[in-house]
């Protein structure tokens, strides 16, 4: 099964949610990932491969701009058109309270000389909301576990 976390940008909140889902919960580790704030990854528009969880589920994250729900609707319909279902791909939206501001900050960080300030502000917001994000991921994992029609079991936490 594939699991895709989508957010306004794919290299901040959605990426951290994907890593949390995979069992990485150290704040230091999460905030020092090389992919965090990587513009080339984000600008490609392609899903970013975050890794595999212990159950073999492929975990991805993706930035889709300001209208996250519209893109979720499109991806869900697109899967149906191709003959796939939520057994093959689950899309989870990651929306923070300040997502409009984060999107604008990310746009700002693209301007020459503004990368550091934009990145710092988004990381600050990420740090502040990390516990909420952790909670959201835990609820999502519980939902998957309780869903009877999904061949999914909760990934075990990292022990390596």
């Amino acid at each position: 099964m594939n699991i895709l976390f989508i957010g306004t940008t794919g290299v901040y909140h959605a990426l951290v949610a994907a890593k949390l889902f995979m069992g990485i919960d150290s704040q230091k580790e999460l905030l020092s990932m090389p992919e965090l704030g990587c513009r080339s990854l984000e600008d490609s528009g392609n899903p970013i491969y975050a890794g595999k969880d212990k159950r073999g589920n492929q975990v991805y994250c993706l930035g889709v701009g300001a209208d996250v729900n519209m893109v979720k609707k499109s991806i869900t319909q697109f899967m149906k058109i191709l003959g796939f279902s939520h057994q093959d791909l689950i899309v989870k939206t990651i929306q923070s309270r300040n997502e409009r501001a984060i999107f604008r900050l990310y746009q700002l960080s693209k301007l020459p000389g503004f990368h550091a300030i934009g990145h710092t502000c988004i990381v600050w917001d990420l740090k502040r909301g990390l516990s909420v994000l952790e909670q959201e991921v835990k609820i999502f994992q519980a939902e998957l576990q309780n869903s009877k029609d999904l061949a999914y079991t909760q990934p075990s936490t990292r022990d390596d």
């Binding site: 594939n2 895709l4 490609s44 528009g45 392609n46 899903p47 492929q58 991805y60 993706l62 889709v64 701009g65 209208d67 729900n69 519209m70 893109v71 609707k73 499109s74 991806i75 319909q77 697109f78 899967m79 058109i81 191709l82 796939f84 093959d88 791909l89």
Partner: protein
């Protein structure tokens, strides 16, 4: 194969391209306003239709043709859909075509007035005029897409 034409609102350029692809419009002459208005979804979409992939028909080679409005996501949206198809191992079954590079100012202004502001009486004649002016450029895009689809189908 599935072919998805997309533009800002999924109401004018993508719908015209899909209609050309499906031979609902004659590509050898400019369509009249009445002919354009007969196309399903042409200048008829609502705000809720953003992000909806709508079926337009099946072409003579068995390819299903769809239209989609994706707001200002540009080429990024093609990458998103192609990326998801790749994730599912289905990238050979799909062709995503951005129509925005064939859209002129009359189409933008008329489309915005008709669909976003909700004044079709004012916007429709402008967007129809714009579509007629952009018609040959859209035809060109459709011909390129049909060739790409043929090439991709022969690989499968």
């Amino acid at each position: 194969m599935k072919i998805i034409y997309h533009c800002y609102g999924g109401s004018h350029s993508s719908v015209t391209a899909a209609a050309l692809h499906l031979k609902m419009l004659d590509n050898s002459r400019l369509p009249t306003g009445k002919e354009l208005m007969k196309i399903p979804y042409y200048d008829k979409t609502a705000k809720d239709d953003f992000g909806s992939i709508r079926f337009m028909g099946t072409d003579e080679f068995g390819n299903d043709v769809y239209v989609l409005g994706k707001k200002s996501l540009g080429d990024r949206f093609s990458n998103v859909l192609m990326g998801v198809a790749r994730m599912l191992g289905a990238e050979d079954q799909i062709l995503v075509v951005n129509c925005m590079n064939r859209v002129n100012w009359s189409m933008k202004l008329g489309g915005f007035t008709s669909r976003q502001l909700g004044f079709p009486l004012l916007g429709r004649p402008v967007v129809t005029y714009g579509t007629q002016r952009a018609f040959m450029r859209i035809t060109n895009l459709v011909e390129i897409t049909r060739l790409k689809a043929l090439k991709q189908c022969s690989k499968l």
